[in-house]
């Protein structure tokens, strides 16, 4: 490091390498991403956004919502599961013997102890989980072999993690979820809850409008600031509320003769929030929707 040029060269190579790795390479890998097909379906993901939702994203950006809300769900575990739901007429002991006979061939032989141990104290009640683990081929093989025997099984991919247990998501967030976001606002602080699935958790537009106007009228102890500047306080016409006016509980309602009407921005923002429904199983984030498994 005797000359200015050598310092320049070292810094240039160092930063250039990281530019190449963390800017150029991701651009090559993800920069031309297209819609993907939803697992076990012909629908594509993410769905095209409607106009008011697209405008709502800009209200989300302009209001700085990203300061307190993330839009990324993390998943800590995933399991392939097969559950026996119906034995038909077979007695439980026969089923156990049959299952034991299946355990000779791969891939089942590797996990035969685990599967049989699950049934050690089994008294024939269904449903019972036969296998739950990383290996999808075990589940596929078991389902394949049990089908001709006439018993019914249900297979599924179960996702788990604190975020999912809170109901903030059905699966982890993946790159494909943000294809149409401009700007992409993942957020890095959860002063408020994650919003990836808010459209399913709170599907009512009017709930969102009231929540934006007076958060504490719906969520007790909420720390969210009220966004009253997105609403218009105006006089009622002929003493009657307009159809658009918010229906507020008395302690949050404006003075008599006045009404609270959402502006276009508030409506767009609410439409955007309701549109946030990261609920599609994808190749890189598979899961079996709970409703289908039951």
């Amino acid at each position: 490091m005797k000359t200015g040029f050598s310092v320049f060269l070292a810094a240039f190579v160092a930063l250039g390498a990281s530019w190449f790795g963390l800017v150029y390479a991701p651009l090559q890998q993800l920069g031309r991403a297209q819609q993907t097909v939803i697992l076990h379906s012909t629908d594509v993901w993410p769905p095209q956004r409607t106009g008011d939702v697209t405008l709502g994203l800009q209200v989300y950006r302009a209001s700085g919502c990203v300061a307190c809300h993330t839009m990324q769900v993390r998943q800590t575990g995933m399991a392939n599961e097969i559950t026996l739901t119906d034995l038909k007429d077979h007695p439980a002991t026969d089923f156990k013997e049959f299952l034991k006979s299946l355990m000779i061939a791969p891939p089942l032989d590797a996990c035969s102890n685990g599967i049989l141990a699950n049934l050690d104290h089994w008294d024939g009640k269904v449903p019972v989980t036969l296998y739950s683990g990383d290996d999808g081929s075990v589940v596929a093989a078991l389902a394949d072999k049990l089908k001709p025997a006439g018993v019914k099984t249900v297979t599924g991919v179960l996702t788990s993690g604190p975020d999912l247990a809170r109901g903030w998501g059905l699966r982890q967030s993946v790159a494909a979820d943000y294809l149409y976001d401009q700007p992409v606002q993942l957020g890095n602080l959860r002063a408020g809850p994650d919003l990836s699935l808010i459209g399913i958790r709170a599907p009512d537009l009017n709930w969102h409008l009231q929540h934006l106007y007076a958060p504490r009228s719906l969520v007790k102890g909420s720390t969210m600031p009220a966004f009253r500047f997105l609403f218009e306080l105006r006089k009622q016409v002929d003493g009657k509320s307009s159809p658009d006016a918010l229906v507020l509980p008395p302690e949050f309602a404006p003075a008599a003769g006045l009404e609270v009407v959402p502006t276009a921005e508030a409506r767009h923002l609410a439409a955007y929030l309701v549109s946030l429904q990261a609920s599609a199983p994808l190749y890189e984030a598979p899961f079996t929707p709970v409703t289908a498994a039951k």
């Binding site: 930063l15 920069g31 943000y178 401009q182 992409v184 993942l186 957020g187």
Partner: protein, 495 residues
């Protein structure tokens, strides 16, 4: 500094050449710091009274906090650091500042850019990318101003009389390249008419934030500290081996950190970042060893003087460096991500590390470039204690609260509202620290403003004397007759 030759300028000449550019940079920076801290305080008020700014869109949390963050980074840290870089380069070169008019223009462009950006954020025109909230016009101004200052700085470095480079040169020169490259890349990609599709935007944002807040600030802060620490403690840098190791590992490994673990991106990106974070412990360790060797047994007392600021700053670098890197390893990030920990850490980096080092440097440089003492020398100590205690009272509750929040969020049986209520106590406690910070920043602002006012008053007196001179004295003196007021001020300014 005891070389003498025709090329070397005296320390007085060098300091005088830096006077106006540095005043412009420092004055604006001090003002933005006070404003940024005030906006941060206003934002935190949302956690005391959530309906306080319900009808005022300007000061809603999302606006005020983003504007405050950017004011701390672009308003205070970068212009103040660039001013210190100019002075250090001039001193190390033993030459007056090259092209002194350029940084004066640049400083004003820079402050204009910050003003436009701040107003835009408060009006809801933020770009939505963390640390890059300023809109395009403001980013262009900042970048142009930066290039102008960098030209002057590099030219000054080029005119050095001693061709050998001092370690501070490496760090500060690399920092100039760092800002130019990362800021232009991030803005060109994210604020262009055709930004990259999807999550690549977030990846570029993380790359930028890491390279500014971690590597960029580290280069600037360490470069400045390695200039002042040996001077203040009267001991040379203990060997350049560790310093060189710190520099090379910082630029080569530090630049790859930043992608959070578990981010919704291809898995190789967080993996690379976690590995780089582990390797980046090397520069932090090397800096710790160097600082330990300078400080050990030096026995120099500082009671709230510039040395205290620099010491506090470099210790903050070591602490924040370790915490930053540890929090990027997968097991820690599972708890700490999405909590107040990261927010507290970045505030500590900006205020406790860079802020303190810049305070020390400014208090040291100001009397030298102005050739007069600070108007309120006692306020130096006051600002040290207010700002130092303020930083710790501000960030420590946030970071501890963040750990608590992370543990509680990881347990789904704890309702989210309960987590929020628990964390609220920590956030409210941290507001006390913001008051301390604000007081400390006001002390700096007062010193800088009064010093500037005194100097301008002095100029005015000279001008008035020059205007009056031909009337009272004999009209035969040819030089004094042409001394009209605007010309003579600019002449005075350049000297």
């Amino acid at each position: 500094m005891n070389q003498s030759g025709n090329n070397t300028a005296s320390a007085n000449e060098i300091d005088a050449s830096c006077r106006v550019p540095l005043l412009a940079l420092f004055g604006g920076a001090a003002l933005w710091l006070v404003l940024g801290l005030a906006l941060g305080f206003a934002a935190a008020m949302s956690f005391h009274a959530p309906d306080l700014f319900a009808a005022c869109s300007c000061l809603t949390y999302g606006h005020a906090q983003a504007a405050a963050n950017d004011l701390l980074l672009y308003g205070f840290t970068l212009p103040a650091a660039l001013g210190v870089v100019l002075w250090i380069f001039a001193r190390l070169s033993q030459a007056p500042l090259a092209l002194p008019i350029v940084p004066i223009v640049a400083a004003n462009l820079w402050h204009l850019g910050v003003l436009i950006g701040t107003v835009a954020i408060l009006m809801g025109d933020s770009t939505g990318h963390a640390w890059l909230e300023y809109p395009r016009e403001s980013a262009v101004l900042l970048f142009a101003a930066f290039l102008l200052i960098a030209v002057s700085a590099v030219a000054t470095m080029g005119f050095r009389s001693n061709r050998d480079l001092y370690p501070s040169h490496w760090f500060l020169f690399a920092a100039l390249l760092w800002f130019a490259w990362t800021y232009s890349t991030a803005n060109l990609f994210l604020l262009s008419a055709h930004p990259p599709r999807g999550v690549v935007q977030a990846i570029i944002g993380w790359w930028f934030a890491n390279n500014i807040l971690f590597v960029g600030l580290a280069l600037l802060g360490i470069g400045i500290a390695f200039y002042f620490l040996p001077k203040f403690s009267g001991r040379p840098l203990p060997g350049t081996d560790y310093v060189l190791l710190a520099f090379l590992t910082l630029v080569f490994f530090g630049a790859w950190c930043g992608v959070p673990q578990g981010a919704p991106v291809p898995a190789w990106l967080p993996a690379v970042s976690a590995f780089a974070a582990m390797l980046s412990l090397l520069p932090v360790l090397a800096v710790t060893i160097v600082v330990w060797n300078i400080g050990r047994g030096a026995g120099v007392k500082c009671f709230g003087g510039p040395l205290c600021f620099i010491k506090f700053g470099i210790l903050s670098f070591v602490a924040t460096g370790f915490l930053y890197l540890i929090s990027s390893c997968p097991s820690a990030s599972r708890v700490l991500d999405f909590t107040w920990f990261g927010f507290g850490l970045s505030q500590w980096q900006l205020l406790g590390f860079m802020g303190m080092i810049l305070f020390g440097a400014i208090y040291e440089i100001l009397p030298r470039i102005m050739h007069r003492d600070l108007p309120f020398p006692r306020l130096t100590q006051a600002s040290y204690f207010c700002f130092g205690i303020g930083v710790l009272v501000y960030v420590l509750p946030l970071m501890i609260g963040g750990v608590v929040q992370g543990i509680k969020l990881g347990d789904p049986s704890v309702p989210f509202a309960d987590v929020g209520a628990l964390v609220l106590l920590f956030i409210r406690a941290s507001s006390l620290g913001q008051i301390g910070l604000l007081l400390g920043a006001l002390c700096l602002l007062l010193n800088v403003l009064v010093l500037t006012a005194q100097w301008k008053l002095g100029l005015l007196k000279i001008v008035i004397a020059a205007v009056k001179a031909p009337l009272s004295a004999s009209a035969g003196a040819p030089g004094s007759t042409s001394a009209g007021s605007p010309l003579s001020t600019s002449g005075e300014v350049k000297s």
